[in-house]
């Protein structure tokens, strides 16, 4: 026969208990569930996103009517229990009663209301439930005062500010969140809140709430008055113990429970914020979930022991990244390691005692929080890595240089989701088992399903397991940032960012100096956006573009002079031959791009060889660049009996317009004199096929790792028009494509129709050409000439040659 379980309170703790109980023993209990709120279980932590408008109430419901119905739960919502009759094992509300074999008290806590005049006026709320949240959602354009600058108060303040209220936070202590933050971090937090228009008044003691029929203002002891259509008191909570006290259960600060969560009455159990366990009361959800696990076992007559672990705190205010765990009060024998980056508003502090971490406070950059927290919980000896500890796992020997690798370095038991105690190993297993979207991961492990602040980390672990991006994760440019290429380009433009450090700072790069993947991309985006203002950062370029030659497998280089449209002269060939001999070039080869490659040149010889080639009128062929490579041509009407137009001349002209420009990936053109297409124009990035009536321009071909025929873009009657259309197309590609996408990939993303519309519109076309020319006023020049000057030449040689000194 089923036993009768009565639960008082349908909150975070009892909700989790019921899940465990129904999972493990679906037929053991008949459950009756009383709740003071007129609804079932929802994710209380998520009230803040509901308040700020980032989520709706429906999205945070954890158990809906169907859930209760399927499990036969007798729901008595909106019915607070008013008495427990222990002798007869019955609980009573004002409307009904219920008999129990076992009773669970899960009444949570009650907000603390400071006893000042006016505290009972309408318009004064706490921050605990949906009713409070709804009252606060209604403050757009109004004045609101939040009393209490702790976790809850600040989430309330930020939420109302997001709704358009004028918000003031009055806080008794010297800085915000003093229980979790030290003054420095509190200051950064205050500054960030003030930036979003919130007024912060620290050391403010509330004297009274003023108003006749409803709250109108808040008066402080120092005489300050803040107008207030709504006052939110968020100064603390105390365990909700009234029922237990009346029933003469043992109650101290909370309802006293033993390790199995049993109260002083063996038929009555309690969990959640209403309990006190070994002198400790609770205010965060993680230990309550552990309690739920233990109590489920106790109710199934299994042995289980609740042992609280330290919990970490995060603030759920978008844009205020804060992490705190452990104890950071100054004390004898304690030492601090502090890291600050004032420019980026970053502050990190570790408190050490005997080479163990006892406290962590981080503001601005909390990526390493989980790692520090793990070290702290494990009591790890950090002596050996003390000097670099503060820089996080990325800087520890053996670990890696980016956040992804930092996640990779975490042991399987490392906790990723603090609320639900989900470890890295659990996430990896679930991903291996097919949970490859965030939603799937949430439903099968609960990771990131509560407060949500670990979402990024969960995604990183999933990405690790899946060997790529998580399906619904925003694909960051690289491991240094969560911003996509497109976002970064957009933000560079809209925020007016004009240097790599500015981008990294203002877009919150997670690494110190970026990586080999984002730096070249950023350099390109910046020079494409601000051709006149931005100075090319040579050190952010891949070796080939830095040294203007292709590096070979043995560290030598290849040199490819430009041969405009594939046409050369005897004197150019002579200069190439001379250079090949003078510098002992091991191989001279005709490339697939209609020009000549000198392979195997030593680095220190490069500027000398370039100077020699320059003297014969040869310039860099940019065979190494993400830029204009070659324009292949055929002989065309000049010599060929089928030629319809001067394809060679047009190719040369196009190459002379486009050369030197940097592009997202390399750009190759082909111009054929007739549809026989001897220049293979129809597999190039831009191909032109001459016909009797003019020029057929097609784009987005490929002949490398993918092979693809071009698609028609336009036809033109004249050479001039052809050059204009091609130039406009190249500029559109330069402005829009993501780095390392060839035109065919970009065209596939944006659609050829959109491109046609831009190019066809005369004004847009002209503007594109104008912007291209502005950029070319800087970049249409020979890098070889710039780098073979007397000042530059020595930089190509070794800094010092100690083998000579040895010989001396």
């Amino acid at each position: 026969m089923k036993r009768k379980l009565v639960v008082i309170g349908s909150g975070m703790a009892s909700g989790r208990l019921l899940e465990h109980l129904f999972d493990a023993a679906p037929d053991a209990w008949d459950v009756t569930l009383f709740n003071a709120e007129p609804r079932g279980n929802y994710n209380r932590l998520m009230l803040s996103p509901v308040l700020s408008g980032e989520k709706t109430y429906d999205q945070i419901v954890t158990h809906d009517d169907a859930w209760y119905a399927a499990r036969g739960v007798d729901c008595r919502f909106g019915e607070p229990v008013v008495g427990i009759d222990r002798a007869n094992r019955v609980v009573h509300s004002n409307r009904s009663s219920a008999r129990y074999d076992a009773l669970v008290i899960a009444t949570g806590s009650a907000p603390f209301i400071i006893p000042v005049p006016g505290k009972d006026l309408p318009g004064v709320v706490a921050y605990r439930d949906l009713e409070d949240t709804r009252a606060m959602m209604d403050t757009a354009g109004k004045d609101a005062v939040v009393i209490g600058g702790g976790l809850l108060g600040l989430e309330a303040a930020a939420g109302m500010a997001a709704r358009g209220a004028r918000v003031t936070v009055v806080h008794l202590m010297g800085h915000l969140m003093e229980r979790q933050l030290d003054p420095a971090a509190g200051y950064l937090l205050q500054r960030d809140l003030e930036r979003r228009g919130i007024t912060v008044h620290c050391k403010g003691a509330t004297k009274a709430i003023l108003g006749t029929d409803r709250a109108e203002a808040v008066l402080l002891e120092d005489g300050t008055v803040y107008p207030a259509d709504l006052v939110c008191m968020a100064v603390g909570i105390r365990p909700e113990t009234r029922l237990a006290v009346d029933a003469h259960l043992e109650v101290e600060r909370g309802i006293v429970v033993d390790d199995a969560l049993r109260t002083s009455d063996p038929h009555i159990f309690a969990l959640g914020e209403c309990v006190e366990h070994r002198g400790q009361v609770f205010g965060l959800v993680a230990p309550l979930y552990d309690q739920a696990k233990v109590l489920a076992k106790t109710l199934m007559d299994q042995d289980a022991v609740f042992a609280p672990v330290q919990t970490a705190t995060k603030l759920k205010v978008t844009g205020c990244d804060l992490f705190s765990a452990g104890d950071f009060a100054e004390a004898p024998g304690r030492e601090d390691i502090v890291f600050r980056d004032p420019g980026r508003g970053i502050y990190k502090r570790l408190v050490l005692e005997n080479d163990r971490i006892v406290g962590v406070v981080m503001y601005g950059d909390t990526a390493d929080g989980a790692w520090f927290y793990g070290l702290m919980k494990d009591g790890a000896d950090i002596g050996p890595m003390r000097d670099t500890l503060i820089f996080g796992p990325a800087f520890q020997g053996g670990a890696a240089a980016d956040p992804m690798a930092a996640v990779a370095a975490l042991p399987p038991e490392a906790e990723i989701c603090g609320c639900n105690g989900v470890s890295k190993g659990t996430i990896l297993n679930a991903a291996a088992g097919g949970a490859c979207t965030l939603e799937a991961m949430r439903s099968c492990t609960k990771a990131s399903a509560s407060c949500g602040t670990c979402t990024g980390l969960v995604q990183q672990v999933m990405a690790l397991a899946l060997g790529g991006e998580v399906q619904d994760a925003p694909a960051g440019m690289c491991k240094c940032t969560d911003h996509s290429h497109e976002d970064v380009r957009r933000l560079i433009r809209s925020m007016g960012l004009k240097s790599i450090p500015a981008v990294m700072q203002d877009l919150g790069w997670k690494t110190v100096g970026g990586c080999h993947s984002c730096r070249p991309a950023l350099n390109y985006y910046l020079l494409a956006e601000w051709p006149l203002d931005y100075r090319d950062d040579r050190q952010s370029r891949f070796v080939n573009e830095r040294n203007h030659a292709n590096i070979q497998k043995d560290g030598t280089y290849s040199v490819v002079p430009r041969m405009w449209g594939g046409v050369t002269t005897p004197s150019e060939l002579r200069a190439i031959a001379d250079a090949a001999e003078k510098y002992d070039v091991p191989m001279v080869k005709v490339t697939g791009g209609q020009r000549i490659d000198l392979l195997g040149v030593r680095k220190e010889d490069l500027p000398h060889m370039w100077a020699d080639l320059n003297a014969a009128g040869l310039v860099s062929g940019h065979a190494y660049s993400k830029g204009l490579r070659t324009v292949k041509t055929c002989v065309g009407s000049q010599f060929c009996r089928f030629g319809t137009q001067d394809s060679t001349g047009l190719g040369i002209r196009l190459e002379q317009v486009l050369w030197g420009s940097w592009t997202p990936h390399k750009v190759k053109l082909g111009v054929s004199g007739c549809p026989r297409n001897c220049a293979e124009a129809t597999c190039k990035d831009v191909g032109i096929v001459c016909v009797d009536s003019g020029y057929q321009i097609s784009v987005a071909g490929a002949a490398g790792m993918e092979v693809k025929e071009t698609e028609p873009l336009a036809t033109a009657a004249t050479e001039d028009e052809t050059v204009a259309i091609v130039t406009a197309f190249v500029q559109l590609y330069r402005e829009g494509a993501r780095y390392l996408h060839r035109p065919y990939k970009w065209v596939a993303r944006v659609g050829l129709d959109w491109i046609k519309a831009q190019i066809d519109d005369p004004a847009t076309r002209a503007a594109l050409i104008e912007r291209f020319e502005i950029s070319q006023s800087v970049y249409r020049r020979d890098p070889w000439a710039d780098l073979s000057t007397p000042a530059e030449v020595p930089r190509w040689a070794p800094l010092a040659d100690l083998t000579l000194e040895a010989a001396e």
């Binding site: 800087f395 990586c515 370029r541 590096i551 070794p798």
Partner: protein, 111 residues
């Protein structure tokens, strides 16, 4: 005690770049980070011999230009999944001059 020899001025190396010093024990890459820290590493990637001096320097790491292995400039160790390392050499910067372990002048390996 390590003896040091002057190999040049800090300004001879671009920030986030490197220069090569030829030594009796092979080429040594001398790196300068964005915040003017200086490191000296063997200039030969353990993967396929790529010149680390030509890699992109980011933070205190360098990416090999040939196949993107990443090395920690402090330890010379490959990062992430790649295994291997290069030798590191003692260095100093004094009044804008770079000094390197004089042991590198000797023909026979000091180590």
């Amino acid at each position: 005690m390590t003896l040091f020899v002057d190999i040049g001025s800090l300004d001879d190396i671009p920030r986030q770049g490197a220069r090569v010093v030829k030594t009796a024990q092979g080429c040594v890459a001398v790196f300068r980070t964005a915040d003017d820290q200086v490191f000296a590493l063997e200039d030969r990637c353990p993967h396929r011999g790529g010149p680390l001096s030509e890699g992109i320097v980011h933070g205190t790491s360098v990416t090999c230009p040939l196949h993107n292995w990443v090395f920690d400039l402090n330890s010379g160790q490959a990062q992430g999944a790649d295994k291997g390392g290069v030798l590191t050499y003692a260095m100093q910067v004094r009044q804008g001059r770079i000094l390197i372990d004089a042991g590198l002048i000797r023909r026979s390996a000091a180590a």
